[in-house]
Structure formats: C-alpha cells, structure tokens
C-alpha cells in the first residue's frame, strides 16, 4: 500500500515479520524498522517527552529525535532505540514509549494543554512548597511521568565484548568521500579500517539518484565495495559507529553484531572497539535541519532528504499528498525524485523568491513560508503566510544541512560559522585527523571528490605510502544554495528541539531570564540534550537565539559536542566484565584440595583463600576455627600461605639494598638465617612487614604481606631503578613459582622429619628458630625451608615448586595421620597471631609508625633507610603516642568488637576523650575469652588499667583491661622449642 513496486535496495524475496504495539506487520530484508513502519502506513510511533504530543518518524538516520521505540520483550527489552537505525529482523518486537493508555489516546496528552505552565525552567520555579510534598508527592509523580522507555529491571541476558584494532588510516563514514578515501588508501597498501554506522555502506549515495562516472551512484558503491573487499589491508566495518575521538589517535567504536539473532545468539550482540589509528579521515557527511513554523512536530512532517531516502532506498511512498517546504536547492531534488517515483507532490514551497524552478509539472510557491499545520495524529493540512491552505499528509522540510562535525570537537575543537552555506564547519581538528566531504562543509560532489583526492594524497604520503593508479571521479552537478535563517512569524508552538520539546517560546524565556549564553541556554532549556544530542536542533536553536539577541550567529557561538556521538549502552562499556569475568581470580596451589574438603573461601585481593575447614557436625564457623586452633597448638596444622608476596633479591649490593628499604639492618644477616623486617614509607609510617631469608651472600628471599605484594615489589623496583641505579640488585617476583605452607604445632618438626630426605638435619640445634635453607623432600624434590612462626608455635614454612603442591597435600596428610594433622584456614591463622600479639594488616593500616607498633628500636640509626628521618618527627615520636597493646574484657562473657574506641573510665564517649581504637579482635580458644589488639595513648605504660571500649554503632560499652599484646606464650618458649 505504501511500498513502490520496484524501487529500492531491499530484498523483496526475503520477507521479515515483526510487530509494533502488538500489531503483526512485515517488511523486507534491507529495511530499517522505520522504513518498514512507513511501508505499513504507521506514521505515528510515539509520544513526545514533555507534552506527550503525537510524534512520527522525522529522519532516516542516527539524528532521529522522535521515533524512539522499545525493542524486545522481557529481560531483552531495550528502550529508546531509534527506529531509523535498527535493521529489521525476523520476529522483531517493537513498542511505542512514553504514553499512558493507547498510543493514539495517551492520557498524558493533557500536558499539551497545560503547556503554558510547563515552559523552560518551570521545575526550577515550582514544586517548592509545601516542603514536605517534594519527596512524597512531586518527585514520585514527576519520575513516573518523565523519561522515555523503560528498562526491564532484570539482568541483561545479552553478552557484550570489547576489542582492540590498529590501522594506518581510520575512515569514518562510508559515503562518497569515505569510499573514495578507502579506495585510494587500499590501493596504496595502507592498512585501512572503514567504519560506518549504517548496515549498508554507501552513505547518501544509497538514497540519491546520483551519477558517478556515468554510472549510477548505487552501482559505483557496489563496485567500490567489491574492490575494497578484495584487499587484505582493508577492514570494512558496517554497523559500526565511531562514537568518540580521543587523544593520541584513539577512537571508540561500537559495532552492532547480532541484530538478527539477538535473542537466540550466544555471541556478543555489540562489541566496543578501541581503535588505534595513525591518521583518520572524517567523512561523516551532514545532517539536514528543519524549518520553524507552527506545529512543525506533527507525524508526517519529515526531513526532506529522509523522505527522498525512504522513496529511493526503501521504495516507500511517504504520503498520498506530499508537500515540500524548503529554503535550499536540495528540497527540489526531493520533489524531482518523488515525482519520478510516481508520488503525488502537491506543492513545493520555497522561502527564496529569486530562483529558477528546476523541475516541471509541479505546483510551487516562491518566497512563501509555512505558518502552521493541522492534523490530529498526522499532518492533514498546512497554511501558508498568504493564507493558502494545502491538504497534505506528508510535509518534507529542508532547512539546509549541518556538517557532522561532532568528532572534531572531542578534543575541545570549536566549530566555526561558514556564512556561505549557513552552517558550522570544523574548527580546530584533532591531531592526525582530516575532514572531507560534506562534514567539511562541501556539498557539491565534484568538489568533494577533488578535495578528497588532494587530502588523501597528503595523508598517504605522510604515512609513507604512495598513491597508486588514478582515481578520477566526476558526478552530475547538483548546485546547493541555501537561504539564511529567517524569523518565524508563526503564532503558537514552534518546535526547535523535537526530542526535548523545546520551542521558540522556551528560548525566549531563557533569554528574558538572562540565560543568553549558548551554554546556559542549553542547560536551562535542555536544547540539544538526550539521545540525539541536538543533531537536528542545535543550529536551529542558535539561529533563534541569534535573531532574539539581534547578533550574527557566529557571535552567538555554539556549544561543542562531547562523546558519544550516538548512545552507547552501559552493557557495551562493561563488556564481558560481569560475573566470573568481572575480575581475575587467583587460586592457591592447594585450592582444589581444599575445595574437596569443603573449605569455606574468602576473597583476599584477587586471591581465594581457605578461611576454615568445617567438619561434619560443626554448626558454626567458631566451632571449626576453635578446633583448628586447639588442634594445631596441641599437635600440628598446615596452612597454605602461598599468597604472601615472595621476592628473590639477588646481586652484589642486595644486602645494602635491604638495609636501604628496610628500617632494620640486614647487611649482617648470616647466610642461612631469617630476620623479621619492617618497611617504612618516606613519611616514616609503617608500610609493610615480613621476613627476609639469606640463602647466599648475594641472594635474599623476601616475603611481603598478601595485600602489599604488588605495591612492595613496585616500590622496590622504584628504589632499585631510580634511587640506586648503580647498585647491582635484581628483583624477581617468585610468588607464583613457590607453593608455600606453614606447618605449625609441637609436632611440626616430627612431621617434617617424615617427609624431608635424610640428608637434611632439621633438629633444633642444626636448624634453630629463624634458620632457613634448601632441603629436599619426598625423594628429591627441591624445597626451601624457613623456621619462622606467625602462630607462636614451633613452626616452619616450606616452599616447594607449585607443580607439586596438590600431590604434596595428599601425601603430607597421609603421612600426618599419626600426628592428627589438620588443615587450618585464615581465621585460625588470625586467632593465633592475635593470641601471640603479632601485628598484621589491621595494625599496619597506613597511620601507624614503628613506635606505635612497639618496634621503634628496630629502626636503625646507623643506616640511611627510607623513612628513618621522618619517623623522628615530634608528633609521631614523642611522649604519650599510641602504643600497640592487648585488651581483655573484665567480664569474660563479653565479646570485643574491632573498631571500638577507648574512652577513659567515667568520661563521656566524645571525640576529645578518644584515646585510641581496637584494631583486631578474636575469641581465644586457648584463653577461653575474647581478646583484642589495639592502639591507646602510652599503652605500654598502662598495663592493668581499665578503660571503656565503646562501640557507638551498637551503643555498646565494654570495660577492658590493658594488657601486654602477647597473650599466649609471651616468653616464646614454644616457637624456640
């Protein structure tokens, strides 16, 4: 009914079924949703943002401000999709948005009648009283009424991906200048990417009856693409929008992959590319703008070139009685093509009076303006300024063209006004970018081809490629002459921005109220915001402002465009970083073993660590953890401590280097010995701690905390490369190479003796506390053994190549049966270190010093170590500073809470009475009570004193006694035994 018999670039043999608002319709392969809707006679597709005016299809591309629809059902639904850009596919489900009740009878159309009260800035002036109404009444109502489409509220079942592409030349847009550029670059051998947002390459040539080199434009496109596809150095990317131009030749691109199988496919439906281009050519063409007249927003009022495109590319009859309103030559081309297609063109109205009418057999008016239109759900007539009324159901409007300069602005380039064509052209262009074709303000095809050829030769030469062969393109002349903007004489509502319902009246109000800078105008009226980013409205709005201010438009200026050029779904930015792909997971070497034993895991950074190992019948985590502590202290337990950072430090100056990076001395550490080390930051604050073992004169092995493994390594590299570049020091992270296990408990030596090969003697005499050495285990597997203890028990840490870890765990537990060997997790590890009074991450929290930690004497005054001088600052080194001590509740039944603050007895819990805080707490199964470590002023001199531990969150106050931090085996007999 609305489809021509033969015209268009659609495959009429492939019929596609789709639905709109539940109505079953069909289109053809090659249609957009918009063209298919028009072919089915659907001009009304939605309601406007604020006034809920009926809205139709206004354009045929990404500039579309009105035809926004909701596509898909359930979790797959996606709002605010421009019907003009979505490629039709079988079973597509689309629904109109932003209406209450049926689309034709939207109850919210009452807003249109209330429009005098809803003009620009109304929300700044209303809803202010009574105050209590805002949250309970106004906001819920406004939120319900505002917005366009709706999200499903369910997780998006589609997948998205990202990628990286590299090229010599990125060509943005595959219209005539884009394809010419691509051809020249391809033949020269340059690596080229051609990206275009349309699914059909060719740009305006697909919708125009242009002649190129005596062939049709469509045929030229076809042949050119065929040739481009034959080059290995060319990557053609249809359905790919370059949405942003960033520094250093980096571009963001969104590729639509699977419209067709959207619901069924498990492949990503969109890919977000980062394109690295040595040079780029912007061939993004131009967008048509509208003209200002009364009620210029009705369905059936469309941009002139779009009407032509619907007719030529999709074989659509856009109306039974088509009229054209133009101020430039392009409107007449539309009239000509429509007439050739057999459409009924009832009248052409041109604002210019001094032109030669280029076509015959058409009714026209020169020097006239459209004043107003009528129609309910679609335009039915228009009225000219001479009072003539024209019956029409489709009005094609052309107010001239705006070069698509958006990407030239992404590095703060400001467009410049071109008086000749009354449009903004690129100003400062990003480095490495050239602009050709209509995007540069050239509208004649022959000029475009000549200009492109010249610029491309320069680009190729810059890239080191030579232009091969001769490409001479000539097109039939199409003059382009446009009238300047003129004042609208219409009364009533004249729309400037269809998407945001901004009218001339709104701009007038903004100017009256002092918002006459373009930036303020935009924000006050919302002109040029939302999904279309003002592609059809910005310049129109500026022209109104210019006329209101009686200033030339170049003086009024323009806002600049930011990325993205068109909307990019959040899902595409997230890419595959969802669920298990959100971040990498590091597994300990015994992970699988622990998993098989029902370990409960905890995230520590990227690592998953076994937290505890519940046994059958244990109902709470405390039961498991208490058992692990008691059994380890009674016999022997094993814990995977691979996550601690391990750094091999080698070189003639390794000892001196450690003296420099650690606060305490390492230069004199004997080979075969281990020492605890404290690392300070430049400002004297404790940075990290751990042990470092000396395996040879020039070989140390440092351990760091799990949390700081990376930052310590980075810090050491900085010290090595920048602070001591002449020293012979070499660093290597060996964290992943070595699986490391803490074996703790009175029977740890006996157990180790069973697995260590006979030649290694680990008796207390030969291998005392803080010894280290290489051993072999299980018949010749080389390992490193450290006699160190975090638990306060007789303990060792055994490091073996990771590949043997799984087998090791199986075998050591087999061997350890007679010792009742158990695995213990990080919770038991934490309990034992608190019982022993060892500082850990909670204590080295970035605000404590060696003195606070009770380690002040370790800071060697003989060495020039990092943080030494600053650690002597009065504020952090004087009398009465915070000291790490232990805390126990006077009532054993009470449970301490980490983070509680200490207040002297009898004083109110106020900041000025705050004396410190509880950093770590645990229930000690050995002492059968809750214990804690914490910092309190002069704590080391206050043992036995009672203070209140205040937890304002739970409004809880617990009386605690200050004690030594060493709750268990304070003399260290067990670990030295």
């Amino acid at each position: 009914m609305f489809r021509l018999e033969s015209r268009g670039l659609i495959n009429r043999e492939k019929r596609l079924n789709f639905s709109f608002n539940g109505k079953k319709l069909y289109g053809y392969d090659g249609d957009t949703l918009a063209s298919a809707l028009l072919a089915n006679g659907n001009h009304l597709v939605g309601r406007s943002f604020k006034y809920h005016r009926p809205r139709g299809i206004f354009s045929s591309g990404s500039e579309e401000p009105s035809a926004l629809v909701q596509v898909g059902l359930g979790a797959n639904t996606e709002p605010n999709i421009r019907a003009t850009t979505i490629q039709l596919f079988d079973d597509l489900v689309a629904n109109s948005q932003n209406h209450f009740g049926p689309l034709e009878w939207d109850f919210m159309r009452v807003n249109d009648f209330l429009s005098p009260f809803l003009s620009a800035g109304f929300y700044y002036k209303t809803f202010m009283w009574p105050k209590s109404f805002w949250e309970k009444i106004y906001e819920p109502i406004i939120r319900k009424a505002a917005g366009l489409g709706r999200l499903s509220g369910e997780p998006d079942p589609s997948t998205y991906d990202k990628g990286f592409l590299h090229c010599d030349l990125l060509i943005i847009g595959a219209g005539p200048s884009g394809l010419q550029s691509a051809l020249m670059a391809a033949r020269s051998g340059a690596k080229v990417i051609v990206a275009d947002e349309d699914f059909l390459l060719g740009g305006s040539l697909n919708g125009d009856h242009t002649q190129i080199n005596n062939d049709t434009g469509v045929n030229w496109v076809k042949k050119t693409i065929e040739e481009l596809m034959s080059f290995k150095n060319v990557r053609l990317m249809p359905k790919t929008t370059i949405y942003g131009a960033f520094d250093h030749g980096i571009f963001g691109a969104l590729e639509i992959k699977t419209n067709l199988e959207r619901v069924k496919s498990d492949k990503p439906r969109q890919v977000l590319w980062r394109i690295y281009a040595k040079q780029s050519v912007l061939c993004s063409g131009s967008s048509e703008r509208s003209l200002l007249f009364g009620n210029n927003d009705r369905p059936g009022i469309m941009l002139s070139r779009s009407v032509r495109q619907y007719c030529n590319r999709w074989g659509i009859i856009p109306g039974k009685k088509i009229s054209i309103y133009t101020n430039n030559d392009d409107g007449w081309i539309t009239a000509k093509d429509l007439k050739e297609a057999g459409c009924n063109v009832v009248m052409v109205i041109d604002e210019r009076s001094d032109i030669v009418v280029p076509i015959k057999n058409v009714d026209y008016r020169l020097g006239k303006k459209v004043m107003d239109t009528k129609g309910s759900l679609r335009i039915s007539s228009l009225r000219l300024d001479d009072g003539t009324t024209v019956e029409t159901d489709c009005l094609a409007v052309s107010g001239g063209f705006n070069p698509n300069v958006h990407l030239t602005c992404h590095e703060r380039g400001r467009p410049q006004w071109q008086e000749k064509n009354h449009c903004f052209i690129p100003g400062k262009i990003p480095k490495g970018m050239e602009v050709v074709g209509a995007a540069s303000g050239a509208f004649d095809l022959n000029n475009i081809f000549d200009e492109t050829s010249l610029k491309m030769k320069k680009i190729l030469s810059y890239l080191g490629y030579k232009h091969q062969g001769k490409i001479k393109l000539t097109a039939a002349q199409k003059p382009y002459n446009v009238a300047p903007f003129s004042k609208s004489l219409a009364k009533g509502k004249v729309w400037v921005d269809l998407q945001n319902d901004v009218t001339i009246k709104d701009i007038k109000i903004a100017v009256q109220e002092g918002f006459h800078s373009v930036e303020l105008l935009k924000r006050y009226t919302t002109l040029g915001m939302a999904t279309d980013q003002g592609k059809t409205s910005n310049v129109l709005g500026l022209s109104v402002l210019s006329l209101l201010k009686n200033e030339p438009i170049e003086k009024v200026g323009t806002t600049i465009y930011r990325p993205p050029f068109t909307p990019v779904p959040i899902g595409a930015f997230a890419g595959r970083s969802r669920g298990k792909h959100f971040k990498p997971v590091r597994l300990t070497p015994s992970h699988q073993w622990a998993e098989q034993r029902n370990a409960v895991f905890v995230e520590t950074g990227n690592w998953l660590r076994a937290q505890w190992f519940p046994l059958e019948g244990e109902l709470t985590w405390r039961e498991s953890v208490d058992r692990e502590v008691l059994q380890t202290r009674e016999s022997v337990g094993i814990c995977d401590v691979t996550t601690l950072g391990k750094i091999d430090i080698k070189g003639r100056d390794a000892g001196a280097f450690l003296n420099f990076v650690y606060a305490n001395n390492f230069g004199k550490l004997a080979v075969g010995k281990v020492r605890y080390g404290l690392m300070l930051r430049d400002d004297g604050i404790a940075f990290d701690d751990g042990t470092t073992a000396r395996f040879a004169e020039d070989h140390f092995v440092m351990t760091t905390t799990t949390t700081n493994a990376v930052t310590v390594f980075r810090h050491l590299e900085f010290c090595r490369q920048c602070l001591k570049p002449t020293w012979d020091v070499h660093l290597l992270s060996t964290t992943d190479h070595w699986a490391q296990f803490a074996i703790a408990g009175p029977n740890s030596r006996a157990l180790l003796s069973e697995i260590i090969d006979s030649k290694s003697d680990i008796s207390n005499a030969s291998f005392p506390f803080m010894a280290c050495g290489k051993v072999s285990i299980f018949n010749g597997i080389e390992a490193r053994l450290f006699r160190i203890s975090f638990s306060g028990e007789l303990a060792y840490e055994l490091a073996l190549p990771r590949r043997y870890a799984s087998s090791f765990m199986e075998h050591i537990f087999e061997t350890g049966k007679k010792f009742n060997l158990i695995p213990y997790g990080t919770e038991a590890l934490g309990v034992m270190r608190i019982e022993k009074g060892h500082a850990a991450g909670n204590e080295l929290n970035g605000q404590t010093t060696a003195n606070n930690l009770g380690l002040g004497k370790m800071v060697s005054k003989l060495n020039d170590c990092i943080g030494n001088t600053m650690s002597e600052r009065e504020k952090i080194d004087g009398e009465g500073i915070l000291k790490l001590v232990g805390f126990a509740p006077t009532n054993k039944m009470q449970t301490l809470v980490a983070g509680s603050h200490f207040i002297p007895k009898g004083k109110p819990a106020k900041l000025q009475n705050d004396e410190g805080w509880m950093s770590s707490v645990a229930f000690s199964p050995m002492l059968n009570k809750s214990i804690g470590l914490g910092f309190i002023k002069a704590g080391d001199q206050r043992y036995g004193e009672k203070v209140d531990s205040v937890n304002p969150l739970n409004k809880e106050v617990i009386e605690v006694e200050i004690t030594s931090p060493h709750f268990f085996d304070p003399e260290g007999d067990r670990l030295r035994g």
């Binding site: 991906d161 590091r586 597994l587 020039d698 070499h730 060996t734 964290t735 006979s758 087998s807």
Partner: protein
C-alpha cells in the same frame, strides 16, 4: 622416605578447539637470567659461547638451531630462557650460573599456545597490541595486559602465539582466551 610426589600443570593439559582457534597448554621450563652490573658487555659473547645463538634485542626472542631453546630479552638486564621440559639443558643453566643470576620461574607461569586461522581475531578481543605481521613479526616477545592479567606474548609463527601468564590465575586467563575465541562471530 619411599613416597614420591608428582607434578600437575595449571590447566591439566588443556587442548581445545573452538572454531578456527586451537588452544593448547604448554609449560616450558623458564629461567630468568639477570645480568650483573658491569657484565653487560660480556653478555653477547658469553651467551653465544654457552647457548650458541644470537642474543635478541629487547622485545624479541631468538631460537637455537633445533628450536628447542628460546631466549627472550625482557629488559636491559633481564632475559628469559625457555625450553621444553625434559630437554637436556641443565648443563646450560649451570654454565650460565657462573656469570649471571639465574632464578627459576617455570611454575610461576602458565603457557597457552594459541594457533589457527582465527587466532588473530581471537586475540584482538583481549590483546591491546597490534599483532599484524608488519608490527609484530615472528619471534616478537612483549609483555602486555589481557583482561587485567600480565601476559608475555610471543609470536611463534604467523598464526601462532605462545601466551604466558601467572599460574595462580591460570583459570581466569584461560577463561578470557576461550571467551574471546567463542565470541568471534
């Protein structure tokens, strides 16, 4: 002590084919060679004497005659030497130890060999580097990031790469590579 413990690999010997991409776990022995200060000038001659092949420049690798040993230059003072497990190279390492600092790294890494017609397309989803023949020739070896993971990528043939990443995150890395292969449309 009569018990013996046995080795496992991070990906349990993975070998999978996804479309035109083949993924295979390879775990070469890897040793890091650090060059002591003031030994820089002797490196070329010593390496040539011991390894019998040329020293690559930074970002490149070179192979011995039988392609059983690969030497990668990571930085001014650091090389990686890779060889197949079970190769008779213990002597080589011992000889190198006399003049250079040698640290074994074999178990720190997981190796995934990726090859096939679509290997480039697969990698362009996660690898920020330009892997085209003009920019990334065979034997190029560069460290980069893929899905937040540190990776040493070595081009072993036109459509074949060896990817080395941390063994502790082997599963996450494999998942990233597999997802890329599956996501190619």
């Amino acid at each position: 002590m009569d018990k013996k413990i046995s080795p496992t690999t991070p990906l349990s010997g993975l070998h999978s084919v996804i479309g035109n991409v083949t993924l295979k776990e390879v775990n070469p022995e890897i040793f890091c060679i650090s060059i002591p200060k003031k030994m820089d000038k002797k490196v070329t001659s010593e390496f040539k004497r011991i390894l019998k092949f040329d020293v690559p420049i930074i970002g490149q690798s070179s192979l011995n005659k039988n392609s059983t040993i690969r030497l990668i230059k990571n930085s001014l003072d650091q090389f990686f030497i890779l060889f197949e497990r079970n190769s008779e190279v213990a002597g080589v390492i011992k000889s190198l130890e006399k003049d250079f600092y040698i640290t074994e790294q074999s178990d720190a890494w997981v190796g995934i060999e990726i090859f096939g017609k679509s290997s480039h397309n697969c990698l362009e989803r996660i690898c920020p580097l330009d892997l085209s023949a003009e920019s990334f020739g065979v034997n190029t070896a560069v460290r980069t990031l893929m899905e937040h993971l540190n990776v040493l990528i070595i081009k072993t043939a036109e459509d074949s790469f060896l990817l080395l990443s941390a063994s502790s995150s082997a599963n996450s890395f494999l998942s990233a590579v597999e997802t890329s292969a599956q996501n190619i449309v």
